[in-house]
């Protein structure tokens, strides 16, 4: 016998198993000896007592019946029947005239003896039937206890494959399986992993397991491992066959074995669920970490930047009258603003990646967006125009602002000094459900304009997509580039003005 096993604290070694087997064999021999002693010794004792005390026939008959009953109880139908016959013969030989012969003169004694034989055999049968019932009940009880123990084990402990195999193996042994075990599939029924196994596992068993898994139904076969039969049960989890449970030489009932396979399947499914849940939990924690990191970064970068901005403005005020200082201070202010916008870009990108930039769209007048752009880019000259019939844009205002700031910075870099960047907003020429916002420059034109965009442009595209919009570029007549942002419109509801 071989035993395949992983880890875990439960161990039934082969020597244990053999001892168990030897003990069973020994107890069976002892039992048979006692039964025959009861049957023969009891008959002899009743005969001796009947003769010595000169008891009447009825009393002796009842004495024999008790012996037959005891024999049947201990040894089953064979012992009961043998005891009945021996008792009938003794009864005839020692108590019916003529004594010490197997002949009977009085026909009424024939009737009595026949009645005794029939009664004793019937009583034996009844007793045996009751005994079988009791034994079955005891088996079912054992099976139930085993299943209960298994379910408690499976659903209170962590179910690593090893621990799972041990629990299933223990249940199989308790259900009287002589060989067999738990096999899990690694992707396909052909790739079998014996998580727990007792006894030989020739290739034909592997084939039978694969066959059962493919058919998805239990298989019962005459046992080659001793005992009544071999049972192969497919294991299901999450609607697929994940392995098989094999009980060889077990007399356990089919429902009990099916229950074991279901419990093991559920445990595997539960284990998978726990693993998936742990994964989701880990993802959630990483999201929380990202969010708090974002918060910390945005706070830690914004705070010194705010202080720098305030100091620079203080310097600017003092530099009003100092031409030499004016240019560098204006430069610092401009660069600080640029640094701020780069940080904004970085944070937006991180938010987009962390799934934090879920746009919160609301109707936003393009004129308000343009106004916010001017506040954000105080050093950039812009001219704005919004068509009278231009609908509001249905966008996330802060994301839309960031898109425009990026496009305008790009246009401003490309523009010759002193030439303003133009901003236009109107209804989309071919799709009235969209607003088109254009940023026009007099730069060198495409593609150099676009190539300069770099990271800012990439972020603008990402944010536009998140807003349900798009960005594209076109050459501007008489030189320069037009950057076009198309976003969904939020037209004013008709009939509201009452």
């Amino acid at each position: 016998m071989t035993e395949v096993r992983r880890d875990g604290d439960f161990k039934i070694s082969n020597s244990d198993f053999e001892k168990l087997h030897d003990r069973r064999v020994n107890s069976r021999l002892l039992r048979a000896a006692v039964t025959w002693l009861v049957a023969l010794g009891g008959t002899a004792a009743v005969t001796a007592a009947g003769r010595a005390m000169n008891l009447n026939h009825v009393t002796v008959g009842f004495g024999f019946l008790i012996v037959v009953l005891a024999a049947a109880l201990r040894g089953g139908l064979p012992a009961g029947t043998v005891a009945s016959i021996v008792a009938t013969l003794s009864y005839n030989f020692f108590f019916f005239q003529p004594l010490y012969t197997f002949t009977i003169h009085d026909p009424s004694n024939w009737v009595a003896l026949a009645a005794f034989l029939v009664t004793s055999v019937t009583v034996s049968r009844l007793v045996i039937a009751a005994r079988i019932e009791a034994r079955r009940a005891k088996l079912r009880h054992q099976e139930l206890e085993t299943l209960y123990g298994l379910s408690v084990e499976l659903f209170t402990a962590t179910n690593r494959a090893g621990a799972l195999g041990d629990a299933a193996g223990r249940a199989l042994v308790l259900l009287g399986a002589r060989e067999g075990g738990l096999v899990l599939f690694d992707g396909a029924p052909e790739r079998q992993d014996a998580v727990w196994w007792r006894g030989d596992k020739p290739d034909e068993i592997g084939e039978r397991i694969a066959d059962v898994a493919r058919r998805g139904e239990p298989l019962e076969l005459a046992s080659t491992a001793g005992g009544p039969r071999d049972v192969y049960l497919p294991l299901f989890a999450g609607g697929e066959t994940i392995g098989a449970l094999v009980a060889r030489g077990s007399e356990a009932s089919m429902p009990a074995l099916v229950s074991v396979s279901r419990l093991v399947g559920l445990a595997v499914e539960r284990e998978r669920f726990i693993e998936e849940n742990a994964h989701v939990e880990a993802l959630r924690e990483s999201e929380t970490l990202k969010t708090s990191l974002l918060r910390a970064i945005s706070h830690d970068l914004t705070t010194p930047l705010t202080a720098i901005t305030i100091h620079t403005e203080s310097l600017r005020r003092k530099a009003e009258r100092d031409e030499e200082l004016k240019a560098p201070v204006t430069g610092i202010a401009g660069e600080t603003g640029r640094l701020r916008r780069r940080i904004d870009n970085l944070l937006s990108m991180a938010r987009l990646e962390a799934g934090k930039a879920k746009p919160r769209r609301e109707p936003t007048p393009p004129a308000d967006l343009f106004r916010a752009v001017r506040e954000n880019l105080p050093l950039v000259r812009v001219s704005v125009h919004v068509d009278d019939d231009c609908p509001d844009a249905n966008v996330d205002p802060s994301l839309a602002l960031e898109i425009l700031v990026n496009l305008i910075e790009n246009a401003h870099r490309a523009s010759p000094p002193g030439v303003p960047v133009e901003l236009l907003a109107r209804v989309h020429p071919s799709d009235p459900a969209q607003v088109r916002i254009e940023v026009l420059d007099r730069g060198p034109g495409m593609p150099r304009d676009v190539a300069q965009g770099g990271l800012g442009l990439e972020i603008a595209r990402g944010l536009a997509a998140a807003n349900g919009g798009s960005i594209d570029f076109a050459p501007r007549p008489d030189g320069g580039t037009i950057a076009r942002l198309d976003v969904p419109a939020a037209p004013l509801p008709v009939g509201e003005l009452a």
Partner: protein, 228 residues
């Protein structure tokens, strides 16, 4: 108001606190400062400032607690210094009773304009509101823009009067619905949007560059007291 108005600055970062105090003093205000909410509440009780500037995220007691504590007893204007991207915090601060917010990093000019607007709003209620070219006579229900009288519908006038009386303060759309429409059934943000659009076309000298009324993302509308 006599003398220099006193402003309480609450921020845990010394660089911001010091630079802001210096700029405020350079602009003619007196200042007192605190490093967190609890200290801010005590400074408020001791010094009775005319206006409070507070950061939101601070160790121990934060800006939200400060706003709640002060609003329990006083209507002193509170301007919140919020961080970009934390719009939920901004809305929550306004909900708790803050009057305005500026987003870090802000420009000093913008902050000063916001402070002036808040201090002006706390002055005794006038019946004539004047902003640049726009004047609103609340008693006679007359509006003039650049010396020319503008005809407004009763709803438009009510909207303008409400926003102008709260100039510099972001107004929640829900507040506007409850004050102008008295929560009439069926009144939605879109109703406000339609009337606001009509009003803006009438009072704005250049609708492409709004001077008086702007939308305030995720809040509602704001009347700009003075352009920066």
């Amino acid at each position: 108001m006599s003398g220099a108005p006193l402003i309480l600055v609450v921020d845990d970062d010394p660089a911001i606190r010091d630079s802001m105090e210096r700029e405020l003093r350079a602009n003619g205000y007196s200042t007192v400062s605190a490093t967190e909410g609890g200290e801010g509440v005590r400074a408020f009780e001791t010094h009775a400032p005319e206006l409070i500037l507070t950061d939101l995220s601070m160790p121990r007691s934060d800006g939200f607690e400060l706003i709640a504590a002060i609003r329990a007893t006083a209507r002193t204007p509170i301007i919140v210094l919020s961080v970009r991207g934390n719009d939920a915090d901004k809305v929550r601060a306004l909900d708790l009773g803050a009057d305005d917010f500026v987003t870090k990093p802000f420009s000093v000019a913008e902050l000063m304009a916001r402070i002036r607007a808040q201090l002006r709003r706390t002055a005794p209620a006038a019946t004539l509101l004047a902003f640049d070219e726009l004047s609103i006579d609340l008693e006679r229900r007359r509006v003039k823009q650049g010396g020319r009288e503008i005809r407004l519908t009763p709803t438009e006038f009510a909207l303008l009067a409400l926003l102008a009386a709260n100039a510099g303060k972001p107004m929640f759309t829900d507040t506007i619905i409850s004050r102008v429409w008295r929560d009439a059934p069926g009144t939605t943000a879109d109703t406000v949007r339609v009337h606001m659009s009509a009003l803006r076309k009438k009072i704005e000298p250049d609708p492409s560059s709004p001077r008086y009324i702007v939308t305030e993302p995720w809040v509602g509308y704001r009347f700009i007291a003075e352009p920066v």
